[in-house]
Symmetry: C2
Subunit: 349 residues, 2 copies
């Protein structure tokens, strides 16, 4: 067709996605369904020129609302589908605006399961305009099986007591804090939002299971001895559906340091009321035990608490309590402050 | 094209593969490269009418050698590629004989990574003869994410200290022993050879990692309270490349009982000299710890030793030693005997 459809191998190359971005919000009516857009606003604001939406959308990132043509005029190079919907399908109602974006000279970037190029209307429009259709949820084609070989450089992995409680934000916060301290660091993205924020990465959950650990090895290759990869965690070792993704990431990442992410308001695994949340201590114990397979020196660097539902005083009390209980630094990366500085310093030691 | 190309959904249906089989050995020169053919000879001999090979093949299953036309005349309905080669590619040299098989009225069954229908010469011949091209290494299309929901019926999973040391043979032996005792039992295959032996199953290592535990749930669905699924294990929880496949299978299978398979001659993980083999006790401990996520009542039923490299007396001494050390029944399923009866009885209790 002549459309430039990117392959997973392109996506795996860090910082290769065309930006700045125009964030597309669809017709969503709750912030939770636009988490990709919010992630980009929070972590790649210098690469976001504005947002666009369909009638009915009640959510905003706070960025100026504009048409694709206006965004192109202001320098945007790609429209990002900022919507995260269950099932990952591209809604037919989005297509006119997506075609308008191609016509305006923007590439399309999507983290949906459904592939942009599988929609004939987009494939035809992309071929005509010679713009790219970029699906970031496609893993590279030639992933080797894991080797377990020790690689040079330092690695930090965020792990969690559950899904969706701050592993990406924690990894991004730590990577940014490392960089501010002059540390040579790369954030390594493993999910679609992280990949668009970073400009590259590998969607671990989309890799065939035989190759998942190999994909994690490929994501954090040999580096200089004092270089750090800060790797976005996925799932939880205690999750009945996704633990194997977490384990592949742990084995393949061979982290020197891990940080446990936890939401104190959560009592059971999200969406699975019969599954109690594991304790932080259980997550530390199991991560060390399993992580030793590929890195005998793995240690827990601290705990990141998502205290977004608490006031500042309650959060501080809880962090002090958990810190004393586990003998580890505890912080909320979003709140930052001295507690977070202590966590960052502990990870670097 | 009109070719009947089976999808993963067809393969997942147990006992739906066309048989009896003609076993194709290619031009292999070592038994290890024909393990699918040997597995079928050993475990599905009533469905094997003979073997065929190319010039240069020095291996035999002991079954009569015949042409595809002779096999068809003797009742064969499918030719099975009995070769297991690194990389899973179909060699160009095989194609004339595979086309001859289609012309003779046989379907083709393959566990290779490369798909039969991707080879134009086979696609054309299958369309012309209206025979089926059956790739058993394709998982079903619509695998749900794991739910962790407890299912009715009993489940046994074989696990191991490493890959390729007897998990499939142990599961098949136990399933057969259960059936002989009048137990309502199904062997559940998770790899290509097991799938062709059983006539169906799901190739867990080919499932996208987000859905691997869900695939294991799909493989051993709700059953009568006294029905047993005996599930073929994969990999090892201590393997740096494949542990995540093992964990998905453990979580999704939610076994009541597991049997640890071990090769006492092995000192390190196959192909990875830097990785010491875990001890049997470590495998028991970790399997119980991780298995409790989806089945709090999981227990170890015993240990299956692969003593093929030992004489009968040495094997007996070692089995007695390991049994005393672990307080569990220990047997070599291939040797059978009273020790294996004790292991089977322990699993049923």
């Amino acid at each position: 067709m002549g459309a430039q459809t990117w392959r997973g191998d392109d996506v795996a190359q860090l910082r290769s996605l065309p930006s700045p971005y125009l964030l597309f919000l669809g017709e969503v009516s709750a912030d939770a369904y636009a988490k990709t857009a919010f992630g980009l606003r929070d972590w790649a604001s210098d690469r976001c020129v504005g947002e666009c939406a369909l009638p009915g959308c009640t959510v905003t990132t706070g960025l100026p609302r504009m048409t694709p043509a206006e965004a192109r005029f202001r320098g945007a190079r790609a429209l990002v589908i900022g919507v995260a919907v269950e099932g990952g399908m591209i809604a037919p109602a989005w297509l006119p605006l997506l075609v308008e974006a191609l016509d305006a000279g923007l590439d399309l970037i999507s983290g949906m399961h459904q592939r942009l190029g599988d929609l004939p209307v987009l494939a035809i429009a992309a071929a005509k305009t010679r713009k790219a259709l970029i699906d970031v949820r496609i893993p590279p084609a030639a992933i080797p099986v894991g080797s377990g070989r020790r690689r040079q450089g330092k690695r930090l992995l965020t792990v969690g007591t559950d899904c969706a409680l701050g592993k990406k934000y924690t990894a991004l916060s730590i990577a940014r804090a490392f960089a501010r301290r002059g540390v040579d660091v790369d954030f390594r993205a493993t999910g679609q939002t992280g990949i668009i924020i970073a400009g590259g990465g590998i969607p671990i959950d989309a890799v065939i299971s035989d190759f998942a650990a190999g994909a994690a090895e490929m994501l954090s290759i040999d580096a200089a001895p004092d270089h750090w990869d800060v790797i976005e965690g996925q799932g939880s070792l205690f999750h009945p559906a996704y633990a194997s993704v977490s384990l592949a990431l742990l084995h393949g990442s061979q982290p020197d340091v891990f940080v446990v992410c936890h939401d104190p308001a959560r009592t059971h695994i999200m969406g699975l009321p019969d599954f109690a949340l594991p304790s932080i201590a259980e997550v530390i114990g199991l991560t060390v035990m399993l992580g030793r397979t590929t890195n005998p020196n793995i240690v827990c660097g601290g705990i990141a608490l998502n205290t977004s539902a608490m006031d500042a005083k309650a959060a501080k009390t809880l962090m002090a309590f958990e810190s004393a209980r586990h003998g580890l630094p505890v912080a909320d990366p979003i709140r930052g402050g001295a507690a977070f500085d202590a966590l960052v310093e502990a990870c670097l030691k």
